[in-house]
Amino acid sequence: MAAIVVEELRKSYGSLHAVRGVSFSVEPGEVFGLLGPNGAGKTTIVEILEGYRHRDAGRVEVLGADPATAGRDLRRRVGMVLQECAVEPYLTVREVVDLHRGYYPKPLPTDDVVELVGLEEKAGVRVKKLSGGQQRRLDLALALIGDPELVFLDEPTTGFDPSARRNAWEIVRGMRKLGKTILLTTHYMDEAQNLTDRVCVVSAGEVVRIGTPGSLRAERAETRIQFIRPDGVTVPKVGEVVPGGEDGLIAMITETPTKALHELTEWAVARGIELQRLEVTQPSLEDVYLELTRDE
């Protein structure tokens, strides 16, 4: 049975149709990414799944229950990292985690969870004194303390520096190994690429694409070849020339990279030219994402 089922979900705020017939499902143990620009409806969808908002139409199932009516029994099995959610500022990290631990029937040990999110040195510090990134890690600890089957992570690494983000990724990978189902929203394509099993791209309240990060990238078959333009010669045109991005860089895209590269390097070798900074790259998930969510 799927951990999350969403069928033809609709939600409007007044005349604004925030979610317009969205359907997807998440399998147990899967890390599922919900991607989309600001205002695409990601948070509305997640908050309906979390039980914070009521849907206008459609069917929603979270761990076999309807989040709109399930109440405490469901909340005991689910952990959440919301976008903006403060913690009592005058309590210490350990006091807050301990307090939340008491809300759940089969919680994890406080020390384990505090260590998992890397806050063991801050355990006795008041929440008020934590940095933004540390508070976010505390959010993660509070989402995990109840040993949930399913975890919602709504932009969990926004505002993190690169190393903090890598640490958070390790935590998510650890959760995945424990068999948790994870629904993650993010703006960062490298995050989706690195963490998720499947992604769902939403734009203007509708699903644009669902698939593995790899399958989405494969949608754009063209390979990009780029190098520094050698002086004093005319370079053969082995693909469609596209803007190189920086001065002196020439870039071409092609659907037959083997042939194109062969022609190019044969030409260069014959003239004794070394092509500086030669690169052959596949389109990134970000390239595909930007194309899918471009303003209609």
Binding site: R72, R75, L99, G102, Y103, R126
Partner: protein
């Protein structure tokens, strides 16, 4: 853990937060004690006219003259309960609503009753402490008598405390964001405090009639009665407590209907 254990843990956590937050502790305790010291000193030796009105020559008509601090100590104790419960809850709940803390709690299995017991229980502890402190300061510095009727005093503090907690939650409905909380809260009750005769009795039936609509007046009356400031009383006054109870029940119904867990999106 059972709900009762969780509720106890909530009370403990709320108490910790309260005492560690200098602003909350100051507004709960600082004002009533400070005014007790100021007015207690200024009017020491004066008399207050209880249950009566001042006549043309300033005499007390239809009531009883008592030493000013016999009247003023229970009045400040009442104010302390109002700040510990009404003001304190209105402020902390608006801040928590704005910061998303309430939203987070709603996403956990913490039950609503356990959460409410936590905040109300903690406020009642603060209220009992401020009342005790007021009585002690009043007795030591100004020779005010100890509360005469103990059981009615504790009962009034607890009932009044719960009612003002409910009204503190209710007023958050009218508070658009945490920045506006002090203005809304003070505007909602400070004028009533004055016309309810918390600081001095006065002669204006219109203002007195207005004051009698609100629970602040009746709570002060209950406290005066329980502290023995009204010479001919057993310590219980059913009417005071009944009006408080009605405000509490109606307030609770309105709060349950209109309370917001999340700040309005702007």
């Amino acid at each position: 853990m059972s709900d009762a254990t969780i509720a106890l843990a909530q009370v403990r956590a709320e108490q910790r937060s309260f005492w560690r937050n200098p602003a909350a502790a100051f507004f709960g305790f600082g004002f009533p004690i400070m005014f007790l010291l100021i007015f207690g000193t200024i009017f020491k030796g004066d008399k207050a006219c209880i249950d009566g009105s001042y006549g043309a020559q300033g005499q007390c008509v239809g009531g009883a003259l008592v030493p000013y601090n016999t009247f003023f100590v229970p009045a400040m104790a009442a104010w302390g309960v109002i700040t510990s419960c009404f003001v304190n809850l209105a402020a902390t709940i608006s801040i928590r609503r704005d910061s998303g803390l309430l939203k987070r709690l709603r996403g956990t299995p913490l039950s609503l009753p356990a959460f409410v017991v936590g905040i109300v229980g903690s406020a009642l502890i603060a209220a009992l402490i401020v009342v005790a402190l007021t009585a002690i300061v009043g007795h030591i510095f100004y020779g005010a008598p100890w509360p005469v009727h103990w059981l009615p005093a504790v009962a009034s503090v607890l009932l009044g405390g719960v009612v003002f907690c409910v009204l503190g939650l209710l007023i958050t409905v009218l508070i658009p964001n945490a920045d506006a909380a002090p203005a809304v809260v003070n505007f909602s009750y400070l004028p009533i405090l004055f016309i309810s005769g918390f600081f001095f009795s006065f002669n204006n039936t219109v203002l007195q009639d207005i004051a009698k609509v609100f629970p602040v007046y009746w709570f002060k009356e209950a406290m005066l009665t329980a502290f023995g400031a009204k010479p001919s009383s057993s310590g219980w006054n059913g009417q005071d407590l009944l009006v408080l109870l009605i405000w509490g029940v109606v307030g609770l119904a309105v709060t349950l209907r209109f309370f917001r867990w999340e700040s309005r999106r702007v």
